[in-house]
Structure formats: structure tokens, C-alpha cells
Symmetry: C2
Subunit: 407 residues, 2 copies
């Protein structure tokens, strides 16, 4: 179903609508005066664009009451309080977390299903997500369904087909997850899939710790270890979308046995199982038990603290290879690694300095994610919103806006 190419003035208008909506989505409420300045457009053009986006139910204006400055205050443009939402899903080995997320990246409602103790099958995960959609829609009280579903998967994802290549800790391989979800979601909704670390970094790059940083790596350690990479300001996904799979990089060929069959993978040194083993605990690598080790370390328990220090040193050594290879300005440590950084940041930095190539300027700022455990979920929301943000006209009719506000 091809359409004639848009006339030029219409194309410019659509582009400008996308720019204004993108500003509000990324930066939150903003005055018309600021929009005029940031985008270099006239006041009347901004006024017309805001009016159009308002009619589509995407933004709404408020007039600040009073204030220190004289003169007529500029209208404040923010996300529409009854605007569209997406469903974001974040899978890990033991949970399927879903959320309704609005423009601006605001979590409007959240729904968590415990799975496990064994990892859920793709069919089971799809069912949980499909069932969550009407639940979340009811929670946010919208007449309209979500505009799309975005899913964060702890594995490699084929960019083109939404197929999960391998998700080692889920036990998935060549799983047509995106296709399954597309077929079962009712009503039919666009489905977009991404790798968890890539999506976590996307969220942090949009509004968090990686904002305005063009060369940044985010490493997430849970049971497995993965990373997302942004280089030259753009996501580095590699030829098949598998870049950043650092968990099975061998850091010591004579190291501990890994479930992958090799020895001394990074994951065997800095994953949650390593932490529990070093802390002398028999617990499965569930987040409750991992959190207990961190709690003990924070209160000064010597065994827990030593375990954290050992992970910190291995982490610093592993980071050194990442820093040598990619020379990022910043490294964001998420999942359990955020706690390691918090408790034993000095040990991480010392090992990084010791093992990284000693070159002037070859250092990296270490930091925690702004959005904590929600980074991947919010990144999933970002990819679900992408189509609407890039073309609000094609993806949002005026009628839809009216139907959305009826209850």
C-alpha cells in the first residue's frame, strides 16, 4: 500500500512536529519560549505545532500562575496527561516486569509476574505480556490500547526479525520471540524487541547517566553479564546485532568452569553466582540473596565485604580490557555491579588503573545508572515510542486522541 510522496511543506511540518514532540518527550515540560529558542522557529510556528500536537492528544499546555518575572508568562508545554502510552516489558530469569509508560518516559502503571525457579519458555513469557496489556490499560484508564509493545530480552536479538539468537540464562536459542508476540497480541500491536543492556543504555543515554555522552559503555551484571555500547554517539550493535556480549570473554583460561563449557569467563568472576560463592552462601543466584550479601557488606560483615572487594577487583580488571578496546568517556555499571561500585568503588578504580594501558587520557568515569533497575524497562519503552516520535502524523490521528479521552 504505497502512498504518494508527501508534499514538501507537509514533510517539513511533520518533521517539525516530530522535533517538538521529541523535545517534550526527552526533556519534559518546556515553555513555548524555550521551544522557539531551541528549535530556531518563529513563535507563531511553535504555536501552530503545539496546537496540532495538542489536538492529537500528545501534549497539553498549562499557564504558570504568577512568578517572579513581569509580563505575560510563556505557556508550558508538557506531555498530555491522558496521552498515548506504550507497554514496556523487561524479562529476566525469574520475572516478567511490564509497565505502561507515557510520553516523557513516565511509568504510569506496573505489573510484575514471578516466573521460575526455572527460566520461562518464550511461549510463557509471551502469554504473560499479552495478559498484562489489558490489565495495564485498565490501570491507566485509557480507552485506547497502547501504541506499541517494547520488550527487553537478556540475549542477542536479530535487529530485523525480532528473533532471539541466544539468551543463555533463559535457555532460548533461535527463538522467534517477536513473531510469537506479534501474533498473539490483541488488538494487533507493533512489537519491538531489544537486548537488555542495549536498551538500558538507550534509556540512560536519553535522560540519565549517559546523557550528552557520545562514547559510553553500560555493563549490567545479574546472573549473566552483558553490555551496551554507544560509540560516536550511535549504538554499536555489530554486524548481526550481537555486540556487547562480554559475559563469556575469557579473562583467565585456567579459571573456574563456566556453564558455557569454557573456563574463566568474565561471568564466572563478576556474575551473581560468583558473589554468592565468594560470600560462602549456598543460595541460588536470586536477587533476594544477592541483595542480602550487599546488605551485610554495607553493615561491615567481613566475609560479605571481602567477597564484594574480590568482585570489585575482577570487575576493574575486566573493565580495563573494555577501556583499552573502546576508550569510552564513561562506563555505567548496572544491576549488581552498581552495588559493587557503591560499596567498593575504590577497589574497582584501583584495579582498572592497574590493568588499563597507562596512556594519558585513557581513563573512564565510572557511574551508576540514573534509573537503577528500571533502565532496561525504560529503554524498551523508548523503542516502542520511536515510531510515534519520528512521525506523530502517521502514527496518531486526531480521532484517536478524542477516543482516548472518553471514558
Amino acid at each position: 500500500m504505497s502512498r504518494p510522496a508527501a508534499a514538501r511543506p507537509d514533510a517539513i511540518r511533520r518533521h517539525n512536529l516530530s522535533l517538538v514532540l521529541g523535545q517534550v518527550h526527552r526533556d519534559g515540560a518546556v515553555t513555548r519560549a524555550e521551544l522557539t529558542q531551541r528549535l530556531g522557529l518563529s513563535r507563531s510556528t511553535i504555536g501552530a505545532l503545539v496546537a496540532d500536537l495538542t489536538e492529537r492528544g500528545l501534549v497539553e499546555e498549562s499557564v504558570p500562575s504568577g512568578g517572579p518575572r513581569a509580563g505575560r508568562p510563556s505557556h508550558v508545554v508538557g506531555p498530555h496527561s491522558r496521552g498515548p502510552f506504550v507497554v514496556a516489558a523487561d524479562l529476566d530469569v525469574t520475572h516478567v516486569t511490564t509497565a505502561a509508560v507515557g510520553i516523557g518516559g513516565t511509568v504510569l502503571a506496573r505489573h510484575v509476574v514471578q516466573t521460575g525457579p526455572l527460566p520461562a519458555s518464550a511461549e510463557e513469557v509471551v502469554r504473560h505480556i499479552v495478559e498484562a496489556v489489558p490489565i495495564l490499560q485498565a490501570m491507566v484508564g485509557r480507552a485506547e490500547p497502547p501504541v506499541a509493545i517494547g520488550v527487553s530480552v537478556p540475549g542477542t536479538v536479530d535487529r530485523h526479525w525480532g528473533t532471539v539468537g541466544v539468551a543463555p540464562n533463559m535457555g532460548w536459542r533461535n527463538t522467534p520471540f517477536g513473531k510469537l508476540l506479534s501474533e498473539l497480541a490483541t488488538p494487533h500491536l507493533p512489537v519491538v524487541i531489544g537486548n537488555d543492556a542495549d536498551l538500558a543504555l538507550l534509556a540512560e543515554h536519553t535522560r540519565g547517566s549517559a546523557r550528552d555522552c557520545d562514547d559510553v559503555v553500560m555493563i549490567i551484571g545479574r546472573v549473566g553479564v552483558g553490555s551496551g555500547i554507544i560509540a560516536n554517539g550511535a549504538p554499536l550493535r555489530g554486524h548481526d546485532g550481537h555486540a556487547g556480549e562480554i559475559g563469556h570473554n575469557v579473562v583467565d583460561a585456567s579459571g573456574p568452569q563456566c556453564h558455557c563449557g569454557n573456563r574463566g569467563c568474565l561471568e564466572t568472576y563478576i556474575g551473581d553466582s560468583a558473589l554468592l560463592t565468594l560470600a560462602g552462601r549456598d543460595d541460588p543466584p536470586d536477587e533476594v540473596y544477592v541483595a542480602a550479601v550487599f546488605a551485610d557488606a554495607r553493615t561491615g560483615d567481613p566475609v560479605a565485604l571481602t567477597a564484594v572487594q574480590q568482585i570489585a577487583e575482577s570487575l576493574g580488571r575486566g573493565l580495563a580490557s573494555i577501556v583499552n578496546t573502546l576508550n569510552p568517556q564513561r562506563v555505567i555499571l548496572g544491576g549488581s555491579l552498581a552495588d559493587i561500585l557503591d560499596i567498593a568503588g575504590d577497589a574497582v578504580s584501583t584495579a582498572l588503573d592497574r590493568y588499563a594501558l597507562d596512556a594519558p587520557g585513557l581513563t573512564a568515569q565510572l557511574t551508576q545508572p540514573t534509573f537503577g533497575a528500571d533502565s532496561a524497562l525504560l529503554g524498551a519503552a523508548e523503542i516502542a515510542f520511536a515510531a510515534l516520535l519520528s512521525d506523530p502524523v502517521a502514527n496518531r490521528s486526531v480521532t484517536a486522541a478524542h477516543s482516548a479521552s472518553l471514558r
Copy 2:
């Protein structure tokens, strides 16, 4: 000295001159008809652009004599046989290789100075390059000096200042090499500096093994080990231009002592010293002795062959981490690693398959550089030509062309 902004038609013309010259530089001789087709410009516009470039002494036309097809043959546009040249220099621990390189990447003349056995100081290297300029100019018989000097350095290079951050095997640190060379080159010539692996990959990406490949890594093993990375079609240099410094990535924390102070760096497994040690030779890691090991391995000498096989396995394991992290489509192995691939390619592939994450699609083609040991030298020529190629008008007067052809 600011100039008024170029008028718009002039800017378009300059842009188009750059496009035509770029085609000839990158792809070699090409017919006017092909240029018309590739660039989507009219025959008369192409004719005018070619005439302008010809007048500037950058290209020249020839008319093919006869041929299988009927009709008037299209003129063939190629690099001018008496056109401008650059001086490219490639430094390693024991040599300073300089060359005069013409448009199209053709080596017109070459001059090699043996240094060592100890690495040369920056001052000594600068002197060798400065002295080589008039020698090369005389060898190519041009009245005009080179348009620029490009230098490949085995170390980290600050993109902005031409300062060498650290060149471990040269013993340089925070060395203002670019500034030194700029001050001493007579006549005053533009000087551009780059990292050897980055430049080697640039040359391979322009006309060699990485041509038309958007996600590619080139690893060069000599005494040290370094890499150049192209991701999403663009060079990945990192925040400070130090990306790709993989030689000191620790691959086994309990491995052999490295001169950097740590243990088990990749360099201690796949660098030239490792090969000589494994082959039971006391020789210094000079290319002559390294070549002797490869020659012996090729004739079936069991000790040499076993040494090569062991390097091959370590190389495959090291490659696995690179492949996991960057998911390149292709990996080019240069320097001694090209010989390792040639003699023991199966062992490299087997180890790579064993240690890389077992994900569908996560494989990489392994290949040798098209330009062999000349990749870095040709990459240095590319950066030296960059200004002329991007704006032939600002960087090449019509007068210069005439003076160049006088003898």
C-alpha cells in the same frame, strides 16, 4: 584571515569537484559515462568538472583506442600522471619507511632508513622524515613539494594535537611529535598523524579487504599488538582517540610477565617475542628472525610449526573476546598475524569458534590485508590527501598544476 562564505553555486561546484576526484582516487580510472551514472550528474556537468580538475593537474583523460562496442568511446578519467603527491611515513621500532604516494594511492617512490637496534627518539624520526622529503621529491621528479605529510605511529595519538600519548615499544610518552615535525619540515607542510592500526584499516577500508564492510576490526601483530575498529561504517577512536589498544588486555591473570608490569597480556601470547620464544630462538623480535620462523614452519619444521599453532590458538581465543564485544563482519589480521592465519588458519578458526559466544550469526570472516605490510603506510597517505580530496579548489591552484609539470 576569514573569507566570506562561498556563494551557493560555487559551494555545489566545489562539492562536486570533490566527489569526482574522490571517485578517481578511490576507484581508479573511470569513464565519463560511469561518472555520470554514479554521481547522477549530467554529461555536460561531468565534462566541466573533469576539465576543471584537469586544469588543476589532478586528473587527466585518455581516449581508449578501439574496443568491442560501437559508437564513440567514453573518455577515461584517471589520476594525473604528473599530479600532486604526499609523503607518507610508517614508523616501527627498527625502521622509518617513507614513500611518495600519488592520487589513487599509488606508491611512486620509497625510502627506508634502518634505525635501532634501540627504538629511535622522536627527534631522530622527525629528522629522517624531514630528510626524506626532498629525496622523495627528486625521485618522483616533481617541481612542487608534497601537498602534506602523513605519519603512522605505533602508539596512541591525540586527534587534535598530533601528540603521541604513549607508544610503548618506541618508549615515547606525551611526545609532541606532530608539532616537532611541523616545525622542522621545510617548506612548511601540513602534517597529519595517526595510529598505525587505525591507518592500516583506513587503507583496507578505502581500497582493500575491508572495502564495503561497515563493521570490521583489523588487528596488527608485530612486537606489539594493536587494532583499528570501524563500526557503523565509521572509525571508532574512542573519547581520547585511544580505542583499539588491545595488546595489553589481560587474557590470563596468571600468565607470563609482560614488560608493562602486568601478567598475561594478549601481547605476551601473540606478539613476535612470544613466537620466537615458543620456537626456541634467542633472537631479538626483529622481522628477519620472525620471517625465518614462518619460513621454517612453511617447510614443515616441527618446532616452528608447533610454535605457530600455539600462537594460532591464543589468537583465536583473543579474537573471541573481540568478536563477542564488537560483532564485526570481518577481522583483518595484519603483520605477523597474517602469516599465522596463512599457515595455521584452521587452528585460529577452531579456537575462535570454541571461545566465542555460541550465538547464531556471531561469526566473523578472517582475512589478510590486501596491502600486506604497506597498509599503515597507505593509510598515512590517505590522511595526508584528505584535505585536498575534500576541497580541491582551496587546496590546489591552477598555477600549482602548471608549476608541477615544469622540469
